[in-house]
């Protein structure tokens, strides 16, 4: 281990302050800190520090994404082969999925981290680890057949306009991964919606429709999938959003490690259930989505993935405890509402989360005002008493 350290110190020499390449220090530091936790010691404040850091937190989220990602790869292959009437082996299905998805991940990380490094060098701060999660999330919520250049463009838009324009990590208003998806959705609608894009290479197959459940419902067609299939996720859809089961495993990891807010997840599910039940009770004829059972609303489409991995983003979400309850609940409520009322955008969750991202600071403001008012009142009482 010592010789590795020694070697790295040698490599880092030209990047040290005062040397030729010192400008590029953040880049080399980012790589170094992935091998070694630095030897920095506390200089002010508390003399001891907790073992947790941002790298550890972000990697925990990546770990939580792995089950959904692997399932997404398998499902991409499985859906592809079954539309051709074949019955693939697990390995075969994963191989096809990986062939499609791994390049997307590589492009997303390559382009995104490139930009992050460039901004870190330009602004002279260390590289923040947030993109490790964003960079994986972006391919996971795209349709499987999306061209790689679109992935790259979406990433550039998300990082530049969604994040760096606001001052970088920790300052962004919108969730960067959803910003990327929203960009692709509105810029290239033909690649992002319809009934030929959700299954790998479906457009090459005539007369077979691989549309999503929500797509069929919006068109008032019969659903051919049962609840178990919806829950396990053996259905067409964006790469990793289909399996509520795998997402639940991820949610469990986030909640047990306390990295994701259970309050947002729980209140989101409650919000969606409430809205779903309201629609079920209204029983409007002619709209397949209103009569779609509320519990199935929760397990199809991007709802589960959105509420677990997107809504819980601490930067763009509400920051206060009470705010988190309200924020999550409204995401669920609006998500199902948009989904039902606007069949042109069956993916209401994306829009709902982005909408609530914008309103999160307002929610927090009112929660904090409660605390501020309490303090003012105490002061007033005091003044009255002494007067």
């Amino acid at each position: 281990m010592n010789w590795i350290r020694h070697k790295i110190d040698q490599i880092k020499e030209p990047f040290e302050p005062g040397n030729k390449l010192q400008k590029y220090r953040p880049a080399i530091n980012a790589l170094d800190t992935f091998l070694f936790v630095p030897d920095h010691t506390t200089q002010k404040g508390a003399h001891i520090r907790d073992a947790v850091d941002l790298k550890r937190t972000m990697i925990t989220v990546v770990l939580a994404l792995i089950p959904a990602l692997l399932f997404g790869m398998w499902n991409a292959g499985y859906q592809h082969y079954t539309q051709l009437g074949e019955n693939p082996a697990i390995f075969e299905a994963i191989l096809h999925g990986a062939y499609k998805i791994v390049p997307m991940i590589v492009v997303s990380y390559g382009v995104g981290l490139g930009l992050e490094f460039a901004f870190a060098i330009m602004r002279g701060h260390e590289v923040n680890e947030g993109y490790l999660v964003t960079g994986l999330l972006i391919p996971m919520i795209m349709p499987v057949d999306i061209p790689l250049w679109m992935v790259a463009l979406s990433v550039i838009f998300a990082v530049l306009i969604g994040k760096e324009a606001f001052g970088g990590t920790g300052m962004n208003i919108l969730n960067p991964a959803l910003t990327a998806r929203a960009f692709a959705f509105f810029a290239y609608p033909t690649y992002m919606s319809g009934n030929k894009i959700w299954v790998s290479e479906a457009s090459n197959v005539d007369s077979i429709s691989g549309e999503t459940i929500l797509g069929s419902l919006a068109a008032n067609k019969e659903i051919t999938y049962n609840t178990a299939e919806m829950f396990t996720g053996i259905i067409p859809g964006s790469i990793s959003e289909t399996s509520t089961l795998c997402i639940a495993v991820g949610a469990l990891i986030l909640i047990l490690t306390k990295v994701g807010s259970w309050r947002i997840i729980l209140s989101g599910i409650i919000g969606a259930a409430v809205m779903g039940m309201i629609f079920n009770a209204l029983n409007i004829e002619g709209n397949g989505l209103t009569n779609f059972p509320w519990y199935q609303h929760i397990i199809v489409g991007g709802f589960a993935f959105g509420i677990v991995f997107m809504a819980t983003d601490p930067v763009s979400g509400a920051q206060t405890t009470r705010g988190k309850w309200i924020y999550g609940f409204l995401i669920g409520l609006f998500g199902i509402m948009i989904r039902v009322f606007n069949p042109a955008y069956p993916e209401g969750i994306m829009l709902s989360i982005l909408l609530l991202n914008v309103f999160a600071p307002t929610i927090d403001h009112y929660v904090i005002q409660g605390n501020v008012k309490k303090r003012q009142k105490r002061l007033q009482m005091k003044t009255v008493k002494t007067a």
């Binding site: 281990m1 590795i4 350290r5 800190t33 992935f34 091998l35 070694f36 936790v37 630095p38 030897d39 920095h40 010691t41 506390t42 002010k44 404040g45 508390a46 003399h47 001891i48 520090r49 907790d50 073992a51 947790v52 850091d53 941002l54 790298k55 550890r56 937190t57 990697i59 925990t60 770990l63 260390e126 923040n128 680890e129 947030g130 970088g168 990590t169 920790g170 300052m171 047990l256 490690t257 306390k258 990295v259 807010s261 601490p314 930067v315 979400g317 920051q319 206060t320 405890t321 988190k324 904090i368 605390n371 501020v372 309490k374 303090r375 003012q376 105490r378 002061l379 005091k382």
Partner: protein, 447 residues
Amino acid sequence: MPTDVKIKKGLKLNLKGEATETFEQGENTKTVALRPANFYSLVPKMVLKEGAKLKAGDEVFFSKYSAKTRVVSPVSGTLKEVRRGAKRKILDVIIEADETQVYKDFGVMDPLKSDSTEVKDRIFSTGLGIFLNQRPYNIPANADDTPKAIYISAYNTAPLTGSAEFILKARVEFFQAGINALTKLTGGKVYLGVDKQSASFLKDIENVEILNISGPHPAGNLGTLIHETEPMNRGERVWTVNPEDVAIIGEQFKTGKYNAQRTVAVTGTSAKNRKYFKTIAGAEVKSILKDFEDNSRIISGNVLTGEKVEADGYLNFFANELTVIPEGNEFRMFGWIPFIDNNIHSMSKTSLSWLFPKRKYEVNTNINGEERALVVTGEMEEVMPLDIFPMQLIKACMAGDIEKMESLGIYEVVPEDFALIDYTNTSKIEAQSIIRGGLDIMLTEVG
């Protein structure tokens, strides 16, 4: 009738290296240092010149902006040196101690039989005023104020600290006399925080309102006690005193001698002789710490709020602990991976350390990461028992937004209330120094 102060939010840190409860007389310190930095915001004006002879209790310097705030010599001897830094700022005043101590005689006074102006005059004219700290801002008390209450916490919940109960055991009489004097300074109550679990003699102290404290750190912090009893409002003043200093005040009233005895618990895994040492406030570190590991950090105070000192330096004037822990200037390969290096404590659940709540940890000074943008939310609230939004207040302090700081409760906090946030936050931001910065702005702008 004792009041209960019970909090749930916070963190009990179990660390290795506690001091055993035995006293040892520290070696006679050759010199003591009075460091203005220990009396935050005080700008000293010297009374004596280098070479002057003085008795214990003779005035050495006073505050430029409030002449009644005086600092007197804890020992008799010779004023050896006034060390100055940039712009001739006084850093240390070094006094060489005599072999046999001579005390200035202030005369005996029974505070309960005297009226409050006499008691107050005596406290401030004889230099005992420096033991009184003012909230907000945590600065030396101003003799012209009358605080709404006075707080003493005899239950230190921070890790590796000296037990006030043990320190005071031999000085109960003086402690009571000190309390009696303090009651004359305020129109309100004098509060004494004690451990609810212990059947301590402290619960029999008279003329105080006993607060029975229970819960994890920072349950015993003065900020917590004030918040749970009479929260601070704008314009109010509260004074706080360390328990041992109450005994020093009491002894001076009872005997007429200023005996600045400081009992210091030597703790931490790197210190070899871990006991309670009796010495003098501002004594040399080496008078009580001889044997310790190389590559250690010496902290005058506890690991969360203490001051870094050198082995040939001086003790913090107020600290009852001297903590010695290893420096963490080592690289750890792949230490950032979750569930790796579980021997390092973490409040988050990304380390298996939470499975062993009773386990004691060995700590060092490694930051365990690097400073990053504020990303994670909700973790600061877990260790903040006060009804305050910590992250929002920190941001207001960073922005220097006076109105916002005030509305979010800056008057109710001092840096030590944010010490656990320093320790636990994922982004490794220096919460205590940010809060200190915010308080400094308030001090100059509002006062």
